[in-house]
Symmetry: C2
Subunit: 217 residues, 2 copies
Amino acid sequence: MGKQENKEYPVSDNEVPTQIKNPDLVRERRRQIIDSTVKLFIKHGYHKTTTRMIAKAAKFSIGSLYEYVSSKEDLLYLVCQTIHEEVQVAVEKVMKDTDKGEEQLAQAIRQYIYVCDKMADHILLMYQVTQFLPEKWKKSILLNELEITDIFTQALSSLSGKSDFPKLDEHTLNLVGHNISVLGQMWAFRRWHVQKEFTIEEYIKIQTDFILGLIFK
Amino acid sequence: MGKQENKEYPVSDNEVPTQIKNPDLVRERRRQIIDSTVKLFIKHGYHKTTTRMIAKAAKFSIGSLYEYVSSKEDLLYLVCQTIHEEVQVAVEKVMKDTDKGEEQLAQAIRQYIYVCDKMADHILLMYQVTQFLPEKWKKSILLNELEITDIFTQALSSLSGKSDFPKLDEHTLNLVGHNISVLGQMWAFRRWHVQKEFTIEEYIKIQTDFILGLIFK
DNA sequence: TAGCCATGACCGAGCGCTCGCTCAAGTAGC
DNA sequence: GCTACTTGAGCGAGCGCTCGGTCATGGCTA
């Protein structure tokens, strides 16, 4: 009952509250914090990374850290959010660049796998860490994941029926979209094997053939 | 420094030490412990499951628990081991049963996806939990994973060149083996989407077509 | 200009608690 | 009485997070 009257100031791009009043400062500082946190999470994982480590890496006191974020879970959400945005932006970019060419799909797959390669650490982190999000946020993250997959589904959809691609129903294409998405991410989450046994160009070649169905003619 | 002179008694099927001298008892009790632990890990995850919860569920005191296992990490390893063995046995079984038929590969894929469905919880757990294993054990677990994938690679290899399958080099087939493996596991780790949007029969149908390259003719 | 105060970002010792693990004291069976 | 096994209170390191406080800044008043 009237336990505290510290108003909280939600910041434009997300629902994570803060005590700090200047929104520009919040954005800047959070950027700092998130960058350090991502690195630490990649290196040590979520549970072994302490809030003190984060504060130190971001050049804050723990006290200050908690002015910008109200719990370690908040931090986790911010990290997931940020990574997903980055992946999504990257994928959208390469899809736009390769639209409407002759062998668009093959090009898109190549570029997508390059993205997965560049962001391998981040993709792996997402796989490891999503499970620790509280339910409300997990949903929003999985929705983001769907958006990325949808980019492929839509690309496939726009090809369906044209040139030598057969016409396929949305349902099927949706799953194929997921397949492409996952086979790209596999370059990250099975890297302990695939990055040892294949060069990225080999990987791209084989996976493209596989997806385009050339393997078994 | 003679800190402790409690001899440790490694037990046949693994390298995890115990204080208990009767190996049969160890096997029996560990079975109990592992079964309970798997359930708890599936429900709460590794970090939120406390050793006290495990002891309680397995009807032990914590003290006794630590007679059979020397750390929570030991337990994690035993769990991973056990699950992998189960998956491997199941996969090997269905592969043997479907060998040498007409459309062996399609049959094998179907059966494999059934296994993934039945063991979805376990597969998901493996994905979540492998990262927390100490390095020495992680390697051994990843090796097990390779063995499962190799079952597919070998099946593919034995088909290569026969009937209407083209001849492909080992290298390519190896990656295809991984693809099959992962696309089956995807039924588990993307279940939040695929198990909502597809029946398992639809999933099997589309993935089989996809793998066999029928999708893009 | 000098004195005063309000503001809010920043600080870090330390609180409360959890959880993996231990060990002295038991009991059961032979 | 000896060995094999069991017990659970207790330990203490380490964690997330709080909260009383400092200090730089800038505006107000005379």
